[in-house]
């Protein structure tokens, strides 16, 4: 198994840099540990290169692509039993207001935005959010009712440092479905339960030393070897 990562992992196993791997013709299993698997970014190309070589790779390009598209993420994880909120994909404020009461959470489904979401508590705010995230109605947005508190959970191989058990269960379900080793989940706490709303890449500066420790432990566990300090 080859670990390819752009993060300085503390593991007793060689780690290959993405740029080196992209020039190699390694045959075997590839574990691609990257903070960002967005389409056309280096993390995506590592998985793509492995697939073209005929290697087995985690995550696959299909999963990397699906994970960052909120409607596909929600459809696929819900199919696998993850709790989600109802959602619609549209660029029409009228349609959103006909479907959901305020407040709502608006996630982008466009090629350029990948960070965060907007909330709207009234019609004006909704118009602003849709206009901005749809890039002047050129693309669609994914809208969900906002009935509780939105939590951001950093997730490493389905494990997260958060105390909330229901959020942890959601994180595990997402990993079970899409096998994205490193990501940030948007989870809504509502009525004592946790509901998946979105998944986005982690920025490098968001990864703390304790996150690196957890991630390294998970990589070691994945590769079947003990973790050494």
């Amino acid at each position: 198994m080859l670990v390819v990562s752009n993060i300085d992992l503390k593991i007793n196993k060689p780690v290959t840099k993405p740029s080196e791997f992209l020039k190699s013709s390694f045959r075997g299993f590839v574990l691609n540990v990257n903070n960002d698997y967005r389409y056309m970014k280096t993390g995506y190309y590592v998985s793509l290169h492995a697939e073209v070589l005929g290697d087995e790779v985690v995550p696959t390009t299909e999963n990397a692509l699906d994970a960052y598209r909120p409607p596909i993420l929600l459809t696929r994880t819900a199919k696998n039993g993850a709790p989600i909120m109802p959602f619609i994909v549209t660029d029409s404020v009228r349609q959103i207001m006909a479907e959901f009461a305020f407040p709502v959470a608006v996630f982008p489904v466009n090629p350029f935005s990948f960070n965060g979401f907007r909330t709207a508590e009234n019609r004006t705010a909704l118009y602003r959010a849709v206009k901005s995230l749809s890039m002047n109605y050129r693309y669609a947005v994914c809208v969900q009712p906002l009935q509780g508190e939105m939590m951001v959970v950093k997730c490493f191989f389905g494990e997260c440092a958060c105390e909330d058990n229901s959020a942890r269960a959601v994180a595990r379900k997402v990993y079970e479905t899409l096998k994205i080793p490193v990501c940030k989940l948007y989870v809504q706490r509502f009525n004592g339960g946790a509901y998946l709303c979105g998944l986005q890449p982690l920025k490098m500066e968001e990864i703390t030393p304790s996150d690196v420790d957890l991630l390294s432990k998970m990589v070691s566990r994945f590769s079947g070897k003990g973790w050494s300090d």
């Binding site: 992209l22 056309m40 190309y45 409607p71 349609q95 489904v109 669609a140």
Partner: protein
């Protein structure tokens, strides 16, 4: 009876030839006893009501069309274009990697990463391919994001722009020709054959007017598929076979009697009086494929 949803965006109706072709699809489907409905962005929740989905809006993994394709695929519907074809065709790095792996004749190509983007690398590229070279963003479509450069300054300017969205870009040898062949392929069979002519004095089929957002397009000359060169059709089918069994438009250059693939496009243009001019059955073949 099959219920077919045709996913379109408003711009699909802005060109009268495309709008007429879409009406032809609808009429053909209804004549064959099927239901055919245009579905827009707001109608995605209705996908489960259909048996198959035909995507005519621009496909890219980051556009709504991919969400439609993937959702329909997950629900077990027949989809043209399927998500795998969109993934491979929309990303030229992916596509050329497969061409290299499976020995599909294609234009000499190298990939350039953001990290390798420096003077020595650019000089090496000019040495290998000569001047000018063609720089392509992986997400190119409709002749956009493909530019010809002859010096390091313009190379840097274009590459920088394309690197904004992708960490890798494609650099190709410049191979001028009066036209590109366009071979339409459906389910491993040739559907139509055309020549996409270059506008006078230009090197690609669609060129942006200077200082304006609009494009000028070269003429389309259509041949009967049975009259097209056999080796051309063979090359097109070989390229499509590594991608899938959907609907594709293969661009091929004829250089000194050899055929080299420029690229395979999913979601190929079908305009009334152009791609359908010689082989009128293309609508029926596509509808039959969707209703199988």
């Amino acid at each position: 009876m099959t219920r077919i949803a045709c996913f379109v965006e408003k711009y699909n109706f802005s060109n009268s030839r495309e709008a007429e072709a879409l009406q032809n699809f609808k009429q053909t489907a209804e004549r064959l006893g099927h239901e055919f409905h245009f579905m827009f962005r707001g109608g995605l929740s209705e996908i489960p009501k259909y048996d198959s989905v035909f995507i005519r809006a621009t496909t890219d993994p980051l556009y709504t069309a991919y969400v439609v394709s993937k959702t329909a695929w997950e629900l077990g519907l027949k989809v043209v274009d399927d998500p795998v074809s969109i993934r491979v065709c929309a990303n030229k790095i992916h596509q050329y990697s497969l061409f290299k792996k499976y020995g599909v004749p294609h234009i000499p190509t190298i990939f350039l990463s953001k990290e390798e983007f420096h003077h020595r690398q650019i000089a090496e590229i000019f040495e290998v391919f000569g001047k000018p070279v063609v720089i392509k963003a992986p997400y190119t479509s409709f002749s956009r994001y493909v530019e010809k450069v002859s010096c390091e300054t313009s190379f840097r300017e274009v590459a920088k722009r394309f690197f904004r969205r992708s960490d890798y870009i494609v650099v190709q040898k410049f191979m001028p020709s009066r036209f590109d062949w366009r071979v339409g392929v459906l389910n491993g069979e040739v559907l139509y054959v055309c020549k996409y002519m270059m506008p006078k004095g230009k090197w690609k089929h669609g060129v942006k007017k200077r200082g304006k957002p609009s494009f000028i397009w070269g003429r389309t000359v259509t041949l009967k598929r049975n009259n097209a060169p056999h080796r051309l059709k063979e090359t097109a089918l070989k390229a499509c076979n590594i991608i899938g069994k959907g609907l594709y438009g293969v661009d091929i250059k004829e250089i000194n009697g050899d055929y080299v693939v420029v690229e395979v496009n999913d979601n190929p243009s079908i305009y009334k009086g152009q791609e359908d001019l010689r082989d009128k059955d293309i609508y029926e073949k596509i509808i039959r494929f969707l209703s199988e």
